[in-house]
C-alpha cells in the first residue's frame, strides 16, 4: 500500500501537473506539443494511485496550508469526486491524443513553430484540465467559485480558438453567460458566508437550516449553475458555442465542462439543499423533461453534424435533471443513475465530437446529407459514432442504458408516468437523429468531394471512447461500490449492491 502521507499528494498533483504543464507549454512553445502531451499523460496517470488510497482509507480530506476548515481551504475526495476525476482523465487523454493530429497543419511549418491553434491549445486545455480537477476536489464554496472562473475563462478561450466569426460570436455569448452564471453563484456564496460564517461545505452542511437566506442562496446558486449547465431554457448559448469550436474543444466542452457545473449543483444539492422542500426539484424535473424533447427535436432538424451533436447535448443534460424529483423517494440509486449518465454521456459525446472532427477533416464539410459512403472509407470512425450513439440512445448494453433503466425504474415505481414517457420518447428521438447520420454514411453523396487524410490516431481515439461508453454498461456492479465511498448520496437505499459480492469474487476490495 502507498504510504499514508504520500497518497493525498496525488490529488494535488492532479491540479498542479496540468497547471505547470500549461506554464511550460506557454513558456516553450517550440516543444509545446510534447510538453502538453507529457503533462496529459502524467495527469491522467495521477488518478490511478488515488483509487487504492480511496479503497483503503475511504473519503479523505486534505488541509491545504495545514490550517483546515474553517480558516483554510480543504480538498476532499469521495467516490463521486473520484468518478469525475477518472472521467476527466479518460476523456482528457483521448482528446489530447486526438488534438495532436487534428490541430496539426497539413504541411508542417518550415520554421518548426507549431501553428497558432496548436500553440495556444495546449496551455489553455491544460489550464482547463487543472480547473476541472480543482473544482471536483474542492470542498470550499469560495474556492469553488475561483475554479469555476478559471474553468469558464479557459473554456471561452478554447471556443474562440478556431477563429472565424461564428466561433467568436459563440465564444462572446458564452463568456457573458458564463460570467452571469458565476455571479449568481457568487451571490449565493456571499449570502451563505454572511449567515453561517464559514465557506467549508462540510461545516456548512452542519449549520444550514431552512431559512430565507438559505433559500435565497439556493435560488441564486442554482440559477447560476443552471445557466452554465445549459438546462432548457437557459441552453441558448450552447449550440453555437459547441458547434463552432474546433472538434477536440467541442468534445471537451460537451463532455466535461457542462458536467463540472452539474457536478457542483449536485454536490450543493446533496450536502446543503437536499432537505429543503422547495418544489425546486419538481421544477428541475419538468425543465429536464422539456430539454429532452426540445433538444432532441432540434437535433433531428439540424442539417449539420456538429449542430446535431450539440443539440443532443442539450437533450442529454435534460436526463440528468430528471434525477432531482425522482431521488426524493428513490434515494441513492437514483443519484447513482444520474452520475452514471454523466459518465457515459461524457465518453459518448466526446467520441461523437471527435468523429465529427474526423468527418470534417475527411470531407471538408459536416453536412449530414452529403456524407459520401464514409462507412466504407472511415469504418472505424462510423463505428465509433455508432457505439457512442448506442449509449446516447440508451440501448443496451451501454452506460446510457444503465442510467436510463434505473431512472425509468424509479419513475415507474413512483407512478411518474409523464417522466417515464419522456425518457422513452427521448430515446426514440435520439435513435432518429443518430441513425439519420448513420444512414447517410452508407449512401453516396450527390456531389462527390475530395477525401482528406484522417490519421489513424483520430479514428482510434474516438473508437476507444465509444467502446468505453459501451463497456460502462457492464461496470455498474464494480462502479457502484466505488461511487458509494464516503456516502456522497446519503444513506443507502434498501438493495442497491446486493449483486456485488459474487461479482468481485470474495471480499469487496472497494468497500468504504
Amino acid at each position: 500500500m502507498i504510504p499514508n502521507l504520500a497518497s493525498p499528494g496525488w490529488a494535488v498533483a492532479l491540479i498542479f501537473i496540468p497547471l505547470l504543464g500549461a506554464m511550460l507549454a506557454f513558456l516553450l512553445p517550440r516543444i509545446g506539443v510534447t510538453l502538453g502531451l507529457l503533462a496529459a499523460v502524467l495527469t491522467a496517470g495521477s488518478v490511478l494511485p488515488l483509487l487504492p488510497m480511496l479503497a483503503a482509507h475511504g473519503a479523505t480530506n486534505i488541509r491545504i496550508g495545514g490550517w483546515g476548515a474553517p480558516l483554510g481551504i480543504e480538498l476532499s475526495i469521495d467516490g463521486l469526486t473520484m468518478a469525475m476525476l477518472a472521467m476527466t482523465a479518460l476523456v482528457g487523454i483521448a482528446v489530447s491524443a486526438y488534438a495532436t493530429c487534428y490541430l496539426r497543419p497539413v504541411p508542417s511549418r518550415p520554421d518548426g513553430q507549431p501553428d497558432l491553434q496548436q500553440r495556444h491549445f495546449w496551455p489553455l486545455w491544460l489550464v482547463l484540465w487543472a480547473a476541472l480537477n480543482a473544482l471536483f476536489l474542492s470542498s470550499d464554496i469560495f474556492n469553488l467559485y475561483v475554479t469555476l472562473e478559471l474553468l469558464g475563462l479557459a473554456a471561452v478561450a478554447l471556443t474562440a480558438l478556431s477563429g472565424g466569426a461564428d466561433a467568436l460570436n459563440g465564444a462572446m455569448r458564452y463568456l457573458l453567460v458564463s460570467l452571469l452564471g458565476s455571479l449568481g453563484y457568487l451571490l449565493g456564496v456571499a449570502l451563505l458566508y454572511h449567515a453561517y460564517g464559514t465557506l467549508d461545505l462540510g461545516l456548512l452542511a452542519l449549520r444550514v437550516g431552512d431559512e430565507t437566506v438559505t433559500r435565497a442562496a439556493l435560488g441564486a446558486m442554482t440559477a447560476g449553475l443552471l445557466v452554465k449547465t445549459a438546462l432548457f431554457p437557459l441552453h441558448f448559448w450552447l449550440p453555437p458555442a459547441h458547434a463552432s469550436a474546433s472538434a477536440p474543444v467541442s468534445a471537451l466542452l460537451s463532455a466535461l465542462v457542462v458536467k463540472a457545473s452539474f457536478y457542483l449543483l449536485l454536490r450543493l444539492w446533496l450536502t446543503l439543499f437536499g432537505d429543503l422542500d422547495s418544489g425546486l426539484a419538481t421544477l428541475l424535473g419538468v425543465l429536464g423533461a422539456i430539454a429532452i424533447l426540445w433538444g432532441s427535436i432540434q437535433a433531428l432538424r439540424q442539417a449539420r453534424l456538429k449542430l446535431l451533436i450539440a443539440y443532443s447535448t442539450v437533450a442529454q443534460i435534460g436526463y440528468l435533471f430528471l434525477a432531482f424529483p425522482l431521488a426524493a423517494t428513490g434515494g441513492a440509486v437514483v443519484w447513482g443513475a444520474a452520475v452514471y449518465l454523466v459518465l457515459s454521456h461524457a465518453l459518448a459525446k466526446a467520441a461523437m465530437f471527435l468523429t465529427a472532427g474526423s468527418l470534417l477533416r475527411f470531407g471538408a464539410h459536416d453536412r449530414i446529407a452529403d456524407l459520401d459512403r464514409v462507412v466504407h472509407r472511415l469504418p472505424i470512425t462510423i463505428g465509433a459514432f455508432t457505439l457512442a450513439g448506442v449509449s446516447i440512445m440508451g440501448l443496451p448494453p451501454s452506460g446510457g442504458f444503465i442510467g436510463k433503466w434505473l431512472l425509468l425504474q424509479a419513475a415507474f415505481s413512483q407512478g411518474r408516468w409523464g417522466l417515464a414517457l419522456v425518457m422513452l420518447a427521448g430515446g426514440l428521438l435520439a435513435a432518429a437523429y443518430v441513425f439519420k447520420v448513420i444512414g447517410y454514411a452508407f449512401t453516396p453523396a450527390v456531389v462527390p468531394h475530395q477525401a482528406g487524410l484522417v490519421p489513424p490516431t483520430m479514428e482510434w481515439t474516438a473508437l476507444a471512447l465509444g467502446a468505453g461508453a459501451i463497456l460502462l454498461g457492464f461496470a455498474w456492479p464494480l462502479l457502484w461500490p466505488l461511487l458509494e465511498i464516503g456516502m456522497p448520496f446519503g444513506a443507502l437505499a434498501p438493495d442497491p449492491g446486493a449483486a456485488v459480492g459474487p461479482w468481485l469474487g470474495g471480499p469487496r476490495i472497494l468497500a468504504p
Binding site: V333, R373, V375, H376, P379, G383, T386, V390, M393, L395, P396, P397, I402, W405, L406, L408, Q409, F412, S413, A420, L424, G427, L428, A431, A432, F435, I438, G439, Y440, F442, T443, P444, F474, W476, P477, W480, D495, P496, G497, A498, A499, V500, P502, W503
Partner: protein
C-alpha cells in the same frame, strides 16, 4: 464456473469473436474470413448439440453475471431455448455457406460477415436469455446488428428501407423496455419461470398487468410482423438474399415470434394470460395477420415481396398456436418455429439463386426456369408445398396440430382461418410452380451468369437442397426422438401437464 457456465458462453462467443475479428480483416483476406466464419459456425453447432444431449439428460445450463442492482444477465438453456438455438445455429451454418457463395464478388464483405455474425450472436442470446432483461438486451442488439445488413447495398432505397426498419423495431423495443421496467417494479424479478411469475399479482394489479402485456407483446410483435406492424418486412427486401433469409427464417422475425412464446409461457403463463383475457385478442390479431399476409402475397409480382408477405402470414401461425393456449395448439405453434424456418429459408435461397444466376426478380420472368435450374426449382417446390401444407412436408404437421388444437380449445374459427390461408397459399404458390415448370423458357434470361456445367455455384445450390431435404425429413420423421415435434411436445408438457 464449470461446463454449465461456459457452454452457453461458448455458444455466444463462437460467433461474437469471429465477428469482431472479421471486422478488422482486410477486404481481400477472403480465405481467412471464410475459415473464421465456418469454424465459428461449426463450433457453435457442436456446442449446441452437446447441450442438446445434456438438456435431454436433465443438465441445467446457466451463466450469470451481475448487471444492475438486483438484476443479473442470465443465460439459461432449457428445452424451449434449445428449440430456437438449434434452429438458428443450424440454419446459420447453411446461410453462411450460402452467403460466401452469394457475395463472392461483391464489395464490403468484411463488414457484411462481421454483422452477420453479430446478428446470429444476438439471436442465440435471445434464445438463451434466462430473464426478460437479458432478452431485451439481445433483442435490441439484434436490431442494431441487422440494420447494417439491411442498408448494405448503400442505395437510397436501402437507406430508406433501413429507416423504416428502425422506426418499427426501435419503437417496439421502447415499448418492450417500458413494459419490462414496469413489470420489474411490480414483481421485483424478471426470471423466466415455467407458467409465469406474475400470477400472484392477479388480484391487485390486473389493469397494470394487462397494460404490461399489451406493451411487451406489441414490442415483440413488431419483429414478429403482426399486422399492422408488419410493413417494415417487405421494405427490407432491398437487402441481399442471405440477409432476407436471415431476417425471415433465422433471426429477426423468429426472435419476435419467440418473444411472444416467452411472454405467454414464461412471464405470464398461458393459463393466467387467458384469465386476464388477453390471449383471445392476440389470437384474433394473429388470425387477421395470417389472412392479410396471404391476401397481399397474391398480388405481388416481385418474387421476394411475395415471399415476404408469405412470411408475415406464416409467422403468425406461431403466434396463433400459442395464443390459442391449448396443449396441442401450443405444439403446433412451437414446431412451426422450426418448420417455417426451414421451409422459408429454402424459398429465399432459391429466390436468391434465381436473382444471382439468371437475374430473375419477378414471378412473371420465371417462365420455364425449372428446366434451366432443376435442382433449385425442385427445392423451391418442396418449400412451396410445405407452405401450402401438403403432406409429407413439414408444414402439414404444423397445420394438423394447430387445427386439432383449436378444436380442442373450442376455438373453431381458427380452423376456418387455417383452411382459408391454405387455399390462399396454394393460390399464390401454385402459379409460380406452374410458370416455372410448364411454361417455355424465354430466349434469353434477364442477366445470366455463367457457372460452367452446373446450374449455379455449389455454395448456392447446396444450402437450399439441404433445407428442402430437411423440410421433408422433419415432416416424415416427426415422431422420431429429437425431432422438432417431439421436442415441442416436451415443452408443451412442461407448460401444461407437469406439476
Amino acid at each position: 464456473m464449470n461446463g454449465t457456465f461456459w457452454l452457453p458462453m461458448l455458444v455466444l462467443g463462437s460467433s461474437l469473436l469471429p465477428g469482431l475479428l472479421i471486422f478488422f480483416l482486410a477486404e481481400d483476406r477472403s480465405g481467412i474470413r471464410t475459415l473464421l466464419n465456418l469454424a465459428g459456425a461449426v463450433a457453435k453447432l457442436l456446442a449446441v448439440l452437446w447441450m442438446l444431449w445434456g438438456v435431454y439428460n436433465g443438465v441445467a445450463y446457466e451463466a450469470r453475471l451481475p448487471f444492475l442492482p438486483g438484476l443479473d444477465l442470465v443465460l439459461r438453456v432449457g428445452p424451449l431455448s434449445l428449440l430456437f438455438v438449434v434452429l438458428s445455429t443450424g440454419l446459420w451454418l447453411l446461410t453462411t455457406i450460402y452467403a460466401i457463395g452469394y457475395l463472392e464478388r461483391s464489395p464490403h464483405r468484411s463488414r457484411f460477415f462481421g454483422f452477420f455474425s453479430l446478428c446470429v450472436t444476438a439471436t442465440v442470446g435471445v434464445a438463451m436469455a434466462g430473464n426478460l432483461l437479458t432478452f431485451v438486451l439481445f433483442y435490441e442488439l439484434l436490431t442494431l446488428a441487422t440494420y447494417p445488413l439491411v442498408v448494405h447495398r448503400g442505395s437510397e432505397a436501402a437507406r430508406q428501407a433501413g429507416q423504416v426498419y428502425l422506426a418499427h423495431t426501435l419503437f417496439g423495443g421502447a415499448l418492450l423496455l417500458a413494459g419490462t421496467v414496469w413489470l420489474y417494479t411490480l414483481t421485483g424479478t424478471l426470471e423466466f419461470t415455467p407458467r409465469g411469475f406474475v400470477s400472484h399479482l392477479g388480484e391487485t394489479h390486473r389493469g397494470s398487468l394487462i397494460a404490461i402485456f399489451a406493451l411487451t407483446v406489441v414490442g415483440v410483435g413488431v419483429k414478429a410482423a403482426l399486422v399492422p406492424l408488419h410493413s417494415w418486412l417487405p421494405r427490407a427486401m432491398v437487402a441481399p438474399a442471405p440477409v432476407s433469409a436471415l431476417l425471415h427464417a433465422v433471426a429477426v422475425v423468429k426472435a419476435g415470434a419467440f418473444g411472444v412464446v416467452r411472454l405467454l409461457y414464461d412471464v405470464f403463463g398461458a393459463e393466467f394470460a387467458a384469465s386476464l383475457g388477453v390471449t383471445g385478442p392476440l389470437a384474433v390479431v394473429a388470425g387477421a395477420t395470417i389472412l392479410y399476409g396471404s391476401l397481399r402475397a397474391l398480388y405481388q409480382d416481385d418474387l421476394k415481396r411475395r415471399l415476404a408477405f408469405s412470411t408475415v402470414s406464416q409467422v403468425a401461425y406461431i403466434t396463433l398456436g400459442v395464443a390459442i393456449a391449448g396443449p396441442l395448439a401450443t405444439i403446433g405453434g412451437l414446431v412451426h418455429l422450426v418448420h417455417q424456418g426451414v421451409m422459408k429459408i429454402t424459398l429465399f435461397f432459391c429466390a436468391g439463386n434465381l436473382a444471382e444466376t439468371l437475374g430473375i426478380h419477378k414471378v412473371s420472368e420465371m417462365c420455364g426456369v425449372g428446366r434451366r435450374m432443376p435442382w433449385t426449382m425442385a427445392a423451391f417446390t418442396v418449400g412451396a408445398f410445405g407452405m401450402i401444407g401438403l403432406p409429407p412436408v413439414a408444414g402439414f404437421v404444423t397445420k394438423w396440430y394447430l387445427g386439432i388444437g383449436a378444436l380442442e380449445a373450442g376455438q373453431d374459427w381458427a380452423v376456418y382461418v387455417l383452411a382459408g390461408s391454405s387455399l390462399l397459399n396454394a393460390a399464390y404458390f401454385l402459379p409460380i410452380l406452374h410458370v416455372a415448370w410448364f411454361r417455355p423458357p424465354p430466349p434469353a434470361w434477364p442477366h445470366e451468369h455463367d457457372f460452367g456445367p452446373r446450374e449455379t455455384a455449389w455454395a448456392l445450390l447446396l444450402p437450399p437442397v439441404v433445407t428442402a431435404i430437411l423440410s421433408v425429413a422433419v415432416g416424415l420423421f416427426a415422431a422420431a426422438p429429437f425431432s422438432p415435434l417431439e421436442w415441442a411436445t416436451l415443452i408443451a408438457e412442461r407448460e401444461f401437464y407437469l406439476p
